[in-house]
Amino acid sequence: MFYGFSITDLTSIFVMQGFAGLILFSVYVLMALGLAIIFGQMGVINMAHGEFMILGAYMTYLTSQLFLTFVPVLFPVYFFVAMIIAFCASGALGMLVEWAMIRHLYKRPLDTLLATWGLSLILQQAYRSVFGAREVGVELPEWMMGSLQVTDGIEVQINGLFVMTLTLGITVAVGYVMYWSRWGRQVRAVMQNRVMAGAVGIDTEKVDRYTFALGCGIAGVAGSAFTMIGSTGPTAGQLYIVDTFLIVVFGGAQSLLGTILSAFSISQTDSTLEFFLSGSTAKVLTLLGVVFILMLRPQGLFVLKIRK
């Protein structure tokens, strides 16, 4: 498959595809981070995760429209406002869902899967009724368009770079919150041993609610970032949900580092193969590889040893 390419061509191809893979990786990481918290830490299978992401995307779209209409001067920075709104909207919806639905189902993890699937259908139809069935895209501010020319054969898009920076920032923030803050310690304590955590005075119900909301909020931010590189439709969330679950499972459900590494390996394999084979074959090979590895090592790449 390398026949007919010179060494410089090949290097450029690998770098460019590597960069495309990095953008994919950023989106995967953002989606998977929220899911790693909800699924990995809480054990809730949230099939509506993609819809929370799309909510964030629609919020970004609305914000961009508002800025264009009312304060065009501030348009270049609308994205930062949109991200906060997306986080709050998805987080609030998440909190509501946790209160109305999820908290009754903690003892039946497989049933959360079915119930949230129902939720995802409702949300999809709601988006379709409100925003229409057609995909919407946001207008990028001036400074995010264009690309940087690194060498003759290699150029990188600025919006891609921006999404990557954003991902890096959010990942660091989530890592800090989960592993170094007092609240993060409480979350991990509740998830590892609920009864004992309750006994030492942690309000486990409150921790549950805020953890779920945080996971959904991050999904909202992911959706926000997603608008930078693609358009948004009512069913776009469903396209990514399986990939995202696979990433979390492959990385080892309870490890954030594992999630990041698995997102990296899956996206890089996918985008490198994609250049040489057709898109669908690349996807099939990548997924087959992951399923195969999971069969050999069902617990995923990284395992946290805890006493059940």
């Binding site: 054990g43 299978i45 099939m47 639905m101 009754h104 189902l105 039946r108 993890p109 497989l110 049933d111 899967l113 079915l114 119930a115 699937w117 129902g118 939720l119 995802s120 259908l121 409702i122 999809q124 139809q125 709601a126 009724s129 469903q238 399986v242 679950f245 696979l246 499972v249 057709s278 898109g279 669908s280 074959t281 996807k283 099939v284 997924l287 087959l288 992951v290 399923v291 999971l294 069969m295 069902p298």
Partner: protein
């Protein structure tokens, strides 16, 4: 007599009611178009019966039953397609004698894996064997390593995604997103006439009843009891010396074979097969049917499938906007409020009244026990 063959009395009555409904009431009251629709829904209930055995009793939730439904359907569709694309029928193609979509994709000879599907016995065998082998590989690999619950569900879901991408991507070999269409005859017998549709409907019902009876056999056998024990306390079953992985693989394969039979019947009655019945969404919908009907009730699975699909058709014909709200809401309600579905509601609210009616109607003879409907487990 409390037992009829291996069925409990209440189960035998329930089965008879279902048979009457499917064989007498529906064919007499519906026109052939609607009856054909019912037949199509019933093919999904094969999958639902499999899910009751595998998920309700065995505790293994597979989100990939669409894979097996699709494999069965595609096997049947390949045979019918080959029959429909005989050299006379495909004279206008650049390569006569191969299916039309292959010709459109510049394929000039029949791929090797299509060749055996010229034989009907091979096709029938393949409908059962192909899904069973795939299932055996998946099941052995996962259950031996004690992958269960959520992880199993996600992996089966991924396999469903892989298969859909593969079918859509390999357009020349599989017909792509349109699937295999334009199926006409089975051994020269036109399957598109009304008469043929009636016959196929009754064949379908007969196969369904056979599968139900088989399901009850499994349910009442020692295997059925081991399954329930495994679901509730897997470790104890393992420590008692049973091969948990073996039993799980077996029941998973059984569910897959049932799904595949449903898929083959689907192709025969509907006249095409496409990847939209293989992927994640149809697979989860099939789980919905089972959950609505009641995951512990084989009969419930059939009723659940019929009801959800009838509602789907009725809603999407008159209020297409509301349908997804309805389905989603139904699903959330069933999971939150009625985990045992319709069958659970029937057992706790309706069945006691019926038992009461029988008690009043018949003077209890001394010595002969009054039939009591046993509560569901």
């Amino acid at each position: 007599m409390d037992r009829l063959l291996f069925l409990k009395r209440s189960e035998a009555v329930g089965l008879l009611v279902l048979i009457t409904l499917l064989v007498v009431v529906l064919p007499l009251s519906l026109d052939i178009f609607r009856l054909n629709l019912v037949g199509k829904y019933l093919t999904y209930s094969f999958v639902a019966i499999g899910l009751v055995l595998c998920w309700g009793f065995g505790g293994i939730l597979s989100l990939g039953q669409g894979i097996f439904f699709g494999l069965g359907g595609y096997c049947m569709a390949m045979f019918l397609k080959l029959e429909a694309s005989s050299v006379e029928n495909t004279k206008i193609q650049s390569t006569p004698g191969i299916p039309d979509f292959m010709d459109w994709n510049q394929i000039t000879s029949l791929p090797w894996f299509w060749v055996p599907f010229k034989s009907f016995p091979f096709t029938l065998a393949a409908i059962v064997i192909v899904p069973a082998v795939l299932c055996f590989i998946l099941g052995t690999a996962m259950f031996r390593r004690r992958v269960g619950g959520v992880y199993f569900a996600i992996i089966t879901q991924t396999v469903a995604a892989i298969l859909t991408i593969l079918i859509v991507g390999q357009q020349g070999f599989t017909g792509g997103i349109n699937g295999i269409t334009d199926l006409r005859t089975l051994h020269g017998w036109d399957i598109r006439t009304d008469h043929a549709k009636y016959i196929l409907y009754f064949v379908n019902v007969a196969a369904l009843i056979a599968c139900l009876l088989f399901g009850y056999t499994v349910r009442h056998s020692k295997l059925g009891r081991i399954l329930v024990a495994m679901r509730d306390k897997e470790d104890r079953v393992r420590f008692s010396g049973y091969s948990v992985a073996g039993f799980k693989t077996f029941i998973f394969c059984l569910a897959a074979v049932l799904a595949a039979i449903g898929g083959a019947m689907f192709t025969l009655q509907v006249g095409f097969m496409s990847p939209s019945f293989v992927g994640i969404v149809p697979s989860i919908e099939m789980v919905i049917y089972t959950a609505v009907g009641g995951r512990l009730s084989l009969l419930g699975a059939v009723y659940g499938t019929l009801l959800v699909n009838a509602a789907k058709t009725a809603f999407s014909e008159s209020f297409p906007q509301l349908w997804l709200f309805g389905l989603g809401g139904l699903f959330i309600a069933v999971v939150l409020a009625f985990p045992n579905g319709l069958a659970g509601i029937y057992d706790s609210y309706v069945a006691p009244h019926i038992a009461g009616l029988f008690k009043r109607g018949r003077a209890p003879k001394p010595g002969s026990g009054v039939p009591q409907s046993t509560p569901a487990e």
